[in-house]
Symmetry: C2
Amino acid sequence: MSSVKTKTDISEKISAMPLFKACGEDFLERLTAQAQLITLEKNQVLFVHEDESTRFFLITKGWIKLFRETFDGTQAVVDILTSGHLFGETSIFQSDKYPYSAEATERSEVISMPLSLLKTEIEANPKLALAMLSSMARYRRQQDQELEHRTIQNASQRIGCFLLRLTNQEEDGSVTIHLPYDKTLVASRLGMQPETFSRALGKLKNETGIEIKGATITMKSLDQLSSYSCAACSSDFPCKDLKVSASSGS
Amino acid sequence: MSSVKTKTDISEKISAMPLFKACGEDFLERLTAQAQLITLEKNQVLFVHEDESTRFFLITKGWIKLFRETFDGTQAVVDILTSGHLFGETSIFQSDKYPYSAEATERSEVISMPLSLLKTEIEANPKLALAMLSSMARYRRQQDQELEHRTIQNASQRIGCFLLRLTNQEEDGSVTIHLPYDKTLVASRLGMQPETFSRALGKLKNETGIEIKGATITMKSLDQLSSYSCAACSSDFPCKDLKVSASSGS
DNA sequence: TACTTGCCTTGACAATGGTCAATAAAAACT
DNA sequence: AGTTTTTATTGACCATTGTCAAGGCAAGTA
């Protein structure tokens, strides 16, 4: 029973993916047939960098951290993704190894699907290939921007930018947001140490007058923040790239 | 006469692109018919960030710097590409604006081709779409690695890594290389100031015993360098990603 | 309630990289 | 060859971020 219910559930979630809109019923059915729902405990590792890649994943609950780490354990966070995002799908091209490790940052659920099916469908279905290209192009721009920010924004500005991207940037008045995950994790996502994050957030508070209560942050207006952070960014506020519906992540 | 010769020349260069291997003669002919050879003087800007994108480019001579810059002129170098690389081609998807500015760092030549042709061909030719996906996936990994390096490598290590990637990493004995462009430019490519580059290169020399004469650098063995730089990298030496034939850049 | 654990903050200090200014060296020009 | 311009190096100093260690706070557990 539960398994049947689960399958229906999985099927719905797969079909809801914008990326698969262009795909026929039969493909979605085959995909669902081979899909598995995986529950990950906090800090559970799904796969590690250089593992043989045979499956890709769709997040349905929680947050997944993608990262790479050196021999001595130093790690660089590639991205932190949540529901509706895909990851591990790029291994189809060129290599059959995952380019990063994946770990749940809290209790999470992902749907695991075989890469082989995706691969043959991409080869057979030009619309899917195009959708995939489009999502990769979008991701690429995000990465370009990320690199830009690491180069020209300081810690406080990066935090400000991160906060702004959590808001509805059209909003006029006072806006309140909640950090989507631990401050420590936000810090690593932004490429800084937790201590630096803590101090830089304090500085941001002084300079822009935002209010901070734990993970809850209130900004009287977005103008103060955006003029502080976006001064060191090549793009205008509001961020255009946010208007595009989220689809493929990683 | 000269124009005929030029067209033949352009045609050959376009056909030689690995990306277009999967394309039929007719497409290549149409592309060539609408292609233009453009000569860029040193520091000449080809297009700027947010310009309407109508054409994409293949470099046939020189070096092109892709960069983004803030209102106050601070710039972040996205990439620096040379002969055989494509750029400006990602604008087909999602947006019709270039995501960066492009400038020649020395006298260079590029072949300019209409994006519209590429777009329709990608939609019609699954093999091209796949080749494109593959090249984007490769680029994406490069960017992931770039971001990783900015996070966990210091200036000297990044320079060491840059140098190693200019060598034939299979080589056993002494290796000599020439910097492909100005030190100032290498510095910006690696996200640091020229002064920092200069000092960090000096430090690298002390720590690994490389020899530096202007733009010529000699390393007695790659081991010293790789153990110095690759200690702060999640991937092994030699770098696997270099073995893939160069094709689409940007 | 007390205890434990994980997360966050703070202080003191070190390391790294950026800035500004002066100089040197190299390349391009006449 | 001599002049000019560009590129590279160096020193002195400052700003930012990282590191290590201690303490605080909050959520969950006994």
